[in-house]
């Protein structure tokens, strides 16, 4: 109140007309400080974002890319994504993908996840996508933050693990079955041999034609018993642990063993004409017998499927330079050129649902790669395909 006013107040020596200039200077000072602070914050946030190893994108509500992180640039060098829609960039289509998690994220205002396969650089990569809505009262429109993590390798390992687990289960089963069958088989064989021994002493007392029949029957029983025992032995070899040490392996023996397993399947397709050309003698290769059996099994299964009801399948072994080779050819439908690159991708398959999950060839590829070998495919549509496995001689 004015009652406090004194003469000194009126003179106001220490008071002067305040200028905007002062305020401006003060503002500039404050702004400089604030600017430095926000620059520090920006750098810190940038450092955090640079530490993120997933592809990160901010999308507008109509899925236009607003910003991306450096991982995007590493994955898609030389592409400027800003302003492009994500579906045109990743899928090369002109409308949003039906499974897009971004829409769900924005409509439910929650974090949505989805796994999808994208073709990048002529490779199929599998991505885990996480879409988070960016809704903020300060933002004029809603945005979506997308994380894409490349999980291709993880999925491959996962598939391999499933396969290994499956094989181990089969191995345990086979070992049990083999054990249980071996005993009755030994008894059957023993009794057949007993009949044959007694027949020798009864030669005089039984008619010749009956003795011939009994000889013939017991021979057949023994032969089939022996075959059963061989099958059982082959099954037992599958039950060995997957991580077996590499040992010298006779590829011809592996091929023969595998064919024996396929006997039943081949007999089912009666019109398939299987020829084998096994070069003997052949160098041993250093490897895991069970795994190599799986390679041949897979290639043969594919060949049988490709050949259809009638056709020819040829299994060869050969020596070529420093390699031992194994080739499976079929006279089947062949592979379209556009699929050649995809053959060894996990989960790529042309088989109908329930007939394959697309893991066989990728498993083959991994096994051959582990043996320092290579696998080559040569195919003509409607004429047939040849898969050649080359393994180094050691």
């Amino acid at each position: 109140m004015s009652s406090n006013t004194s003469l000194t107040d009126l003179i106001g020596i220490e008071h002067n007309k305040l200028n905007f200039f002062q305020e401006l200077q003060k503002n500039i000072e404050e702004l400089t400080t604030i600017n430095l602070q926000s620059e520090d914050q920006r750098r810190e946030i940038a450092a955090i974002l640079d530490g993120v190893t997933d592809v990160m994108m901010v999308l507008s509500e109509n899925l236009e890319i607003i910003s991306v992180n450096h991982v995007f640039e590493e994955l898609f060098p030389g592409i400027n994504p800003i302003g492009k829609t994500c579906y045109s960039l990743f899928r090369n289509v002109d409308k949003p993908c039906p499974e897009c998690p971004a829409f769900r994220a924005i409509s439910t205002n929650s974090v949505c996840k989805e796994t999808a396969i994208f073709r990048v650089d002529s490779r199929n990569l599998q991505f885990d996508m996480v879409a988070s809505p960016l809704k903020h009262p300060d933002l004029t429109e809603n945005r979506i933050l997308i994380f894409k993590r490349d999980v291709t390798l993880e999925k491959e390992y996962q598939a391999k693990f499933y396969q290994a687990e499956k094989m181990a289960t089969i191995g345990v089963l086979a070992a049990g079955v083999a054990h249980e069958i071996n005993n009755p088989m030994a008894a059957v064989a023993g009794f057949a041999e007993g009949i044959q021994r007694r027949l020798a002493r009864l030669d005089e007392s039984v008619p010749d034609d009956l003795a011939d029949d009994l000889h013939d029957y017991t021979d057949t029983i023994l032969k089939e018993c022996s075959r059963c025992q061989d099958i059982v032995k082959t099954l037992l070899s599958f039950s060995r642990p997957v991580a077996a040490d590499f040992l010298p392996v006779d590829i011809n023996q592996v091929a023969k063993d595998t064919l024996r397993l396929l006997d039943h399947q081949l007999r089912k397709n009666k019109d398939i004409n299987l020829t084998t050309e096994l070069t003997t003698p052949i160098h041993h290769v250093h490897g895991d017998e069970a795994q190599l059996k799986q390679v041949i099994l897979n290639l043969m299964t594919n060949a049988v499927d490709a050949a259809g009801d009638s056709g020819e399948i040829k299994l060869q072994t050969f020596t070529e330079g420093d390699n031992v080779g194994l080739r499976v050819c079929d006279s089947g439908c062949g592979i379209p050129p556009e699929n050649i690159d995809l053959l060894f991708e996990p989960f790529f398959t042309t088989k109908s649902v329930g007939h394959g999950i697309g893991i066989g060839l990728s498993t083959c590829y991994n096994i051959v790669k582990d043996h320092n070998g290579e696998i080559v495919v040569d195919s003509t549509p409607e004429e047939g395909s040849c898969f050649t496995v080359l393994l180094p001689i050691k």
């Binding site: 109140m1 004015s2 009652s3 406090n4 006013t5 004194s6 003469l7 107040d9 009126l10 003179i11 106001g12 020596i13 008071h15 002067n16 007309k17 305040l18 200028n19 905007f20 002062q22 305020e23």
Partner: protein
Amino acid sequence: MQITKFAIPEVIFGNGSIKFLASCAQRLGAKRVFLVSDKGLESCGWVQQVMDLLAEAKLECIYFNDLTANPRDTQVHRGAELYHETNADVIIGLGGGSPIDAAKGIATIVSNGGKVSDYEGANRISHPLPPMIFIPTTAGSGSDVSQYAIISDKEREVKMAIISRSLVPNISIIDPELLVTKSRKLILASAVDALAHAIESYISRLASPFTEPQALNAIKLIAENLEAAANHKDPEALTQLAIASTAAGMSFSNAGLGVGHALAHALGGRYDVMHGMALPILLPSVMRFNIPSCKLKIATIARTINGASLCSIDEQAEQVCDSLQKMFEDLGVPMRLRDLVPDEADLEEICKVAVNDACAVPNPREANWQDLLGICKEAW
């Protein structure tokens, strides 16, 4: 000797000087000018002239005229709102004391926020004000060069004095040609206000060698030219009054006023009387009350008005009160307080308000409310 200070704005003076308005505004960074004036000036055509000058320089103009004679805090708040809404920059005040004080009030609220009453008293303004240019159209208030703004608080029925160096405008453009359209009554009221400024600041306890010559010069010019200006609207006399008003403004702005203005503010707050009409009534009694404290100075005022005298100092001092009273009576100004105040019983309350007015502080003779009541009774 007391340390003093002398603060005045840039003053542009002369017939036709209003034409520099736009360039002055531009130099202060104007793009959208906030013009404060009132309806009386609209009818004289001055508002339109200012607007034309601004338009010619392609300056946008926001016009605010929602003002009464004694500007009110509510009007000031409305003006500040409009300033913000329209994103205006430089404030131009065109008019007598009312629009200019309102412009000061608006500028204060614009950059300091709050209410006008928050800044009542001295040195309460803490933030810089927007650039201000004032164009006085009366030769009296001196508000265009002063650090004072008087705003009415209708609720408390008081006139608040806001005193701050920040209220000194950046530029004051004083064009005497703007005075010719004024009525006789307004010319008189303004000149008496200026005379009161000059006399009160001359005898003020804060008077300094920088304010005293200004005050004496103003007293002399008003005494010599008032009659010709009021009765004949003599342009030369009006120009001299404009000079006198500005000089008085410079003086009182730095030396302060006295109980005369304190009482006038209290009366104005209560009865909305014309400021310039209360002063001639009070001035002779106020001077008489002050004689014991500044006899020599009052004698000097007497010689300035009446010329050299052979009388004693005591006689001269007494004479000046009479000659002032006679001068006002000759000009037909009402000279009794009873003409303004309906009830004598109100005086006590008015004096209790006036004793708290910041203007009363530098009065040469200490005055309590009973002293002020004595002055009022004498003028009744």
